[in-house]
């Protein structure tokens, strides 16, 4: 269902600098619809996993406290240009998305 994730991964010295933009409403469940007055149900990314060449480097848990269209930046020592970084997320409704990129 989700729109594509955007990812940028480049080597900065011997560290891979990875930046990801996820598309997600990140509703806390506490917000009211301006028109109906009803609470908008909680709908947020609950976990994000990142791997490099298949090996896990980041396993994050998130909540509705993360901003809409979550941004995530992290750094990994060890990879080289040409290695593959993959990031995937799952949300509290069971939706998921993933993206893969080659480190430049």
């Amino acid at each position: 269902m989700a729109e594509p994730m955007r990812i940028r991964a480049t080597m900065a010295g011997d560290v891979a600098d990875v930046k990801v933009l996820m598309n997600h409403p990140m509703e806390t469940g506490l917000r009211k619809d301006a028109k109906t007055g009803q609470l908008i149900p909680a709908h947020f990314i609950t976990e994000v996993i990142a791997t490099i060449n298949g090996a896990p480097v980041l396993a994050a848990e998130m909540s509705g406290g993360v901003s809409k269209n979550p941004y995530l930046g992290f750094k990994v020592k060890g990879p080289k240009a040409g290695d593959k970084v993959a990031v995937s997320w799952a949300d509290n409704k069971g939706d998921k998305n993933s993206v893969e990129a080659t480190i430049g």
């Binding site: 480097v57 980041l58 406290g65 750094k75 020592k77 993959a86 998921k96």
Partner: protein, 155 residues
Amino acid sequence: MNALRRNVLKGAAGAGAVAIAVVAGVLKPTQAMAAWNKAAFDAKNVGAALKGIGVTDPADSKDITIKAPDIAENGAVVPVEVTSAIAGTTSIAILAEKNASPLVSNFNLSGGAQGFISTRIKMGQTSLVRAVVKAGGKSYTAAKEVKVTIGGCGG
């Protein structure tokens, strides 16, 4: 702790196959990771939230740097960057102490991932933004106040 989760998080031998399966969509992230830590994320105060991620009395540390604004332009999207210079950092948690649920996110790091996280968080009001770092079996913390105002103009 779920052995599968331990393997994924610690990058132990065989975890590579699990991770590839995750990315291929064969294995959902929710299966590779333990169930979402509801207790920690639903906690209404910092102490309970930290307890939920297995932390009590983290030591103040000057080796944790929080880059966050003095005054947030917009409380819905506050850029926060945490750098931990503590050797062997295995996780970074970010909390906004006065949020209804203070724990915003918890990042587990492995396989060469550095003590560095950059993200954007929501803040309901002026409060301390707190980073809690786990390294070498111990926990450390630092905090920075971020003011949140409601402006009068700006269309």
